[in-house]
């Protein structure tokens, strides 16, 4: 966990006090061997193509990021300022590890990389994302995706 003592006191308190939604959390999907799975990235970093509409406060929808997207065409419009952006400015892989995922597919560690990846914007009530998550599931199933690596900022 990010070290709370590395955060400004008000920020650390906010993180501690933040109310978590109650979500049914018992689901468990059986995995194939890693070397046979097709993997997609789902991020909540507010990532999108330059040509997409940026995210704004309250947005619970998502953007599709094709696997062959050039890093120069990727923007971040997360509405929070309470995290570091200089890492992403230097290297997209620090929050969207597309090059690393591709390398792991080349090495046979995973089966393959999905055709498309997804980004939400995490500074919003995530229970409002449930309907959109179903749409995302349909997009990923269409591409025979087995597994999803999630991360946020």
């Amino acid at each position: 966990m990010v070290r709370m003592d590395a955060l400004a006191p008000a920020m650390a308190q906010r993180m501690t006090d933040l109310v978590m939604p109650e979500v049914e959390s018992g689901a468990w999907s059986e995995a194939k061997p890693l070397g046979e799975m097709r993997v997609a990235i789902v991020s909540s970093a507010g990532l999108h193509l330059k040509t997409d509409r940026p995210f704004f406060r309250g947005d619970a929808d998502y953007r599709v990021i094709p696997s062959d997207t050039d890093g120069a065409d990727l923007f971040m419009s997360h509405v929070s300022s309470n995290y570091d952006r200089s890492g992403f400015q230097e290297d997209i892989n620090v929050s969207f590890p597309i090059d690393r995922l591709r390398e792991l597919a080349d090495e046979g560690f995973i089966g393959s990389v999905a055709k498309n990846h997804i980004s939400f914007m995490g500074a919003t009530d995530p229970t409002g994302m449930e309907r959109n998550a179903k749409e995302v599931a349909a997009i990923l199933k269409e591409d025979n995706v087995d597994a999803v690596a999630l991360s946020g900022v």
Partner: protein, 245 residues
């Protein structure tokens, strides 16, 4: 809040039949929500895979995340114990670009505008160098160039009744995106020679040693006092907690 979002999304997607594993930057949030598989990492917010330009370290994190998918049963919330390499940030780093003295009077908008434009000009060679080195820039999310984006911030301070320059964006959104471009221009410029400063050094430099931070202070104050509730609501995200009143 991102960890909250991905923790919830993991449950939604697992329910749809996918095998999911998350990176958790705030383990406390993931513990409260519960996820099928999670890897809690000790990295700073904004860097779920640890370190920019360190492909081996990023791959190590990603592999551990993916390996959780082989767990025979769950839920499982594991810890990634290694700190990211620090990239050798210079201990006494200072910005290589010499900037004019910070203009402190945020009520003197003519003076503040002149100081802001002088900084933008002074930083331009470094910004262009960083852009060329990286082959990309994150400045431009507002769909304005840096001159237009920065001017929009002060134009709003002068008159909250201005119109959004982009008919597709409400004014609150145009202002927020312009403010992100403004800050990104500065933080990209100081990385002209590579990431030799830590994220904290870059943030300290911007918020403590630039007239740009004074522009942000005047802008945030105007947002807090705006009659448009969407602008007031947006203002919390203009600066990191504790950097501005």
């Amino acid at each position: 809040m991102c960890t909250r979002a991905v923790s919830v999304l993991a449950n939604y997607l697992e329910r749809e039949g996918f095998v999911t594993a998350i990176i958790s930057l705030i383990k406390l949030h993931t513990e409260k929500i519960g996820v099928p598989r999670g890897l809690a990492v000790p990295f700073e917010l904004g860097r779920p895979y640890g370190a920019p330009t360190d492909a081996e370290f990023q791959k190590q994190v990603l592999k551990q995340q993916l390996k959780l998918m082989e767990s025979p049963s769950g839920p499982v919330l594991a810890d990634f114990d290694d700190d990211p390499p620090d990239g050798k940030p210079a201990r006494d780093w200072t910005c290589a670009v010499e900037l004019p003295p910070v203009f402190e009077d945020t009520d003197d908008l003519a003076g503040l505008r002149a100081a802001m434009n002088a900084e933008i000009d002074a930083l331009r060679p470094a910004y262009e160098k960083a852009k060329a080195r990286r082959g990309r820039t994150t400045v431009g999310v507002s769909a304005m160039n840096i001159e237009m984006a920065s001017e929009l911030l002060l134009a709003f301070v002068e008159d909250e009744g201005i119109r959004s320059p982009n008919p597709e964006f409400p004014l609150a959104m145009a202002l927020k995106l312009a403010s992100e471009d403004f800050k990104a221009y500065y933080s990209e410029a100081v990385a002209a020679e590579g990431c030799i400063a830590s994220s904290m050094q870059i943030a300290d430099w911007f918020w403590n040693e630039t007239s740009g931070a004074k522009v942000m202070a005047a802008f945030k104050k105007a947002c807090d006092e705006a009659s448009d509730e969407k602008i007031v609501d947006m203002a919390w995200g203009v600066a990191p907690g504790g950097r501005l009143p």
